[in-house]
Symmetry: C2
């Protein structure tokens, strides 16, 4: 997608602090971190949101989570804990319409979930 900032980050056209990349997904630090660890994990393929998933995407979406687990270990937060969030649409405050998983940890989460 020409105008998608995350597509540009994935292909290296826009700068980022990339922490992991394989054929299916990319992971880079959020530019406005809300905690000591705040990483975005995204599919390399452009999918706008959870609303646009098809059953064929299930292994890809699952892969975001095994990569999240691996990054939690890498960041040293797998034992203390971490929150994983995917926001969809305006009520949840989705800002970029390229599906992304937030990995947040390194401190006790400050807020309840609602």
């Amino acid at each position: 997608m020409l105008d998608c900032i995350f597509c540009k980050i994935i292909t290296g056209q826009s700068p980022s602090q990339m922490v992991f990349q394989d054929e299916q997904v990319s992971a880079f630090r959020d530019i406005h971190p809300v905690a000591p660890t705040h990483i975005l994990i995204v599919p390399n393929k452009h999918i706008a949101s959870i609303n646009d998933l098809t059953p064929a995407d299930e292994p890809l979406v699952g892969h975001l989570f095994t990569v999240a687990r691996q990054l939690a270990v890498q960041e040293g937060i797998e034992k203390t804990g971490y929150r994983l969030i995917i926001n969809t649409g305006s009520h949840a405050g989705q800002m970029v319409f390229h599906l992304h998983l937030h990995l947040i940890g390194g401190q006790r989460v400050r807020y309840p979930m609602g």
Copy 2:
């Protein structure tokens, strides 16, 4: 798992407001909802947390999310938006050690993510 409340809900030994069930996953309403829609989507197989995932679980974890999308449509919140959360460990406030995805919507989320 004998002592797992979610395993008991999945098999019908404990009561719940079940909203969806198939061979892989079950979905039921949270007993302490934080928003008009607050549903927990869980694998039928006992997996304690994201820390316990293996690559073989990727299609199953992805399936939680296509079911979440379907339930968002069913609840009429797919256009207004919704937040999906998986908590792991104490920093994130994981209470039940059977992996569960929170589907939260029906109002603007009140809190940032950290």
